[in-house]
């Protein structure tokens, strides 16, 4: 074929995108744009992390906001107990927060993964609310409804957002690297087999239990680290805002919009949805109709492209190339 290979195209696209992401803060017109970009990158990371569990194994967790909040509180408490001052040092504790979140995820996963399908979805929601209630009720530890304060970074003016931007970028890239590696590994194949038919996967010798748990823990740890950086960025966290069901459902939406189980899908979904949401809320929030607008857009997308943008576009290209009903390439359903 003389046509450029799909993978080369995607690859070069990724490189351009990465280069753009690296220099964005220096070409950003104002700190508000950097701020928007930081939140967008945050969701790139979250959606990518969620996809490792939800996309590859087919287990839909609506409770990942619980890990987000847990990571956030863990970092905040670590910094408070150790008396770490604002600056670059708090970022060094982010992996620690990720590790502790991973431990929690082992526990939650061990329990939640006893259930399947719809029950699993709801059990994850229940866990999220339990974590939220704990954050509210353990007042001596978390400050309850009065919130938990982070050390305030000394940076002033427009520079303030930049360290957070790069922290989010690093985490998003880490998530993408892990996701990419899993897709190419035997472990990833096992996960996809579980998604297609768990009982068959078990029958052919995939250690489904261990595989699912690993994916769950990896995904939760990434989300926990991102939650930590988020907490430090917004400086005050409250139970209802960091363990927020909306954060959990946003990740899922982005993955579905971009393409479930694909590498680039979550990135695309996040890059479209998060700025759109921030922009709509900022410009039309006052009219109260922005929720209606947002929901209309997203219902349309799901009904028209139920498999997400990337698989739909891929299929379109494949068809256009073949100019005939080509044998369907196996892509993520």
């Amino acid at each position: 074929m003389r046509l450029p290979d799909m993978r080369v195209l995607m690859g070069s696209g990724m490189v351009v995108l990465l280069a753009f992401a690296l220099v964005l803060p220096s070409i950003s017109p104002d700190s508000a744009t950097t701020n928007m970009a930081t939140f967008t990158l945050m969701y790139v990371g979250l959606a990518t992390a969620w996809n490792i569990m939800g996309g590859y194994t087919g287990y839909i967790s609506l409770g990942h906001a619980g890990f987000f909040g847990f990571g956030s509180y863990t970092l905040g408490l670590l910094l408070a107990k150790l008396g770490v001052a604002g600056g670059y040092t708090p970022f060094l504790f982010v992996p620690v927060a990720g590790l502790i979140t991973a431990l929690l995820a082992v526990l939650v996963g061990w329990f939640a993964l006893r259930t399947r399908a719809a029950t699993f979805v709801i059990v994850t929601i229940a866990f999220m609310f339990m974590l939220q209630l704990l954050a509210e009720n353990l007042i001596g530890l978390t400050g309850g409804g009065s919130g938990l304060g982070f050390p305030i970074p000394p940076w002033r003016g427009d520079f303030y957002d930049i360290p957070f931007y790069y922290a989010m970028l690093v985490l998003a890239l880490l998530g993408l690297a892990v996701s990419w590696w899993i897709r190419r590994s035997k472990f990833g194949l096992g996960l996809l087999a579980i998604r297609d038919d768990e009982d068959k996967a078990l029958a052919v010798g995939v250690p489904a239990g261990a595989f699912k748990l690993t994916a769950f823990v990896v995904s939760a740890a990434l989300v926990g680290m991102i939650g930590g950086v988020y907490g430090y960025y917004v400086t005050y966290i409250y139970p209802q805002f960091v363990v927020d069901p909306l954060i959990g459902i946003s990740m899922v939406l982005m993955v579905f919009l971009g393409g479930l189980g694909t590498l680039g899908g979550p990135v695309l979904g996040a890059v479209i949805l998060e700025p759109a949401q921030l922009w709509l809320a900022y410009h039309y929030g006052a009219s109260r109709l922005y929720l209606v607008l947002y929901s209309a857009v997203f219902l349309l997308v799901i009904l028209l492209m139920p498999r997400g943008i990337i698989p739909s576009v891929r299929e379109l290209i494949a068809r256009w190339r073949a100019r005939a009903p080509a044998p369907q390439k196996v892509v993520a359903p």
């Binding site: 939800g54 839909i60 609506l62 329990f111 006893r114 259930t115 399947r116 399908a117 719809a118 029950t119 979805v121 709801i122 059990v123 929601i125 229940a126 609310f129 339990m130 209630l133 704990l134 509210e136 009720n137 038919d197 768990e198 009982d199 069901p245 459902i249 899922v252 939406l253 579905f256 479930l260 109260r288 109709l289 922005y290 929720l291 209606v292 607008l293 947002y294 929901s295 209309a296 997203f298 219902l299 799901i302 009904l303 139920p306 498999r307 359903p333």
Partner: protein
């Protein structure tokens, strides 16, 4: 001790409302195998409809059900045809997203028409009460409870005493097999969704009289309803009713005996404990198929 008893009575009375709301949700799950995350928003919509009728034309909230239940039924059938039926692949996950999208849309519209201020349906008799010992029970709670019982009874009659009910139950048992024996599964699904919405309207009225609510109230509501139907066993009507009563009684007793901050937590602990022993919930059928 008397306080705990009072809380238990209150828990049973309010539990009836949750039983009604949860039964619609579990019915929809049973028939269509979808999680209707928008159910909470539909309850709130029902509450607002009755609120509007009462506010504008002074129509008694219980009486307004004569109007709102059929309206919501039709709306349910339409929503099912437009938004749920087109989902062919990955129904389980996509239905969560679609119904969530519907919930957001309803929240936005309600916010537009009614603002986000908290409102409550206040009938003239809403603080009237009768005594049981030193404790007084408000008539609205009892009325609400009786209404819920009546509607639940009607639902059971429909399911177990009519041929349409058999079609619904057959679909719940096995969708494919039901289709094979000539049941119009699409039609059954649309009707089930409509019935779910009609019960949401009824639940909404009682909810709106006993709680103050705003368009954002559905988040809290749906999280409670979902945990109820999982505890009871997905798709089990009996399970939903019993789980609703368990939930409200335990949370209300915990609130007065231990502390209100631990009330919902205790319920989640019960849920986790039950699921450890019975992953399919109290009355659920063991789920080996992939749904």
């Amino acid at each position: 001790m008397t306080l705990a008893l009072e809380a238990a009575v209150l828990g049973i009375l309010t539990g009836g409302v949750y039983a009604l709301m949860a039964s619609g949700l579990t019915l929809i799950f049973g028939v269509m195998r979808i999680i209707n995350v928008g159910h909470g928003a539909l309850v709130v919509l029902g509450a607002y409809l009755s609120f509007a009728l009462w506010n504008r034309w002074n129509i008694d909230p219980f009486l307004s059900l004569v109007v709102t239940m059929p309206v919501m039924f039709v709306l349910g059938v339409i929503l099912q045809i437009v938004f749920v039926r087109p989902l062919k692949t990955d129904r389980e996950a996509l239905s969560v997203l679609v119904t969530y999208g519907l919930a957001l849309g309803i929240e936005g519209l309600l916010g537009y028409f009614f603002t986000s201020n908290y409102v409550q349906i206040t009938a003239w008799y809403d603080t009237a009460s009768f005594p049981i010992g030193s404790f007084r029970v408000a008539y609205v709670y009892v009325l609400g409870f009786l209404l819920c019982l009546a509607i639940l009874g009607a639902m059971f009659l429909l399911l177990y005493r009519t041929s349409f009910g058999s079609a619904i139950r057959a679909t719940m048992l096995n969708r494919t097999a039901a289709q094979l024996v000539g049941i119009d599964v699409d039609r059954v699904s649309a009707f089930a969704f409509g019935i779910g919405m009609a019960t949401a309207a009824a639940g909404g009225v009682v909810f709106g009289i006993t709680n103050s609510f705003n368009p954002g109230s559905h988040y809290d509501l749906i999280s409670r309803l979902l945990t109820i139907i999982v505890l009871g066993g997905l798709g089990s009507l009996r399970g939903a009713i019993i789980a609703a009563l368990i939930m409200l009684v335990t949370t209300d007793i915990t609130a007065v005996v231990i502390s209100p901050v631990w009330a919902s937590f205790v319920f989640f602990v019960i849920l986790v404990a039950v699921l450890l022993v019975r992953p399919q919930g109290l009355f659920g059928v063991s789920v080996r198929d992939r749904l």
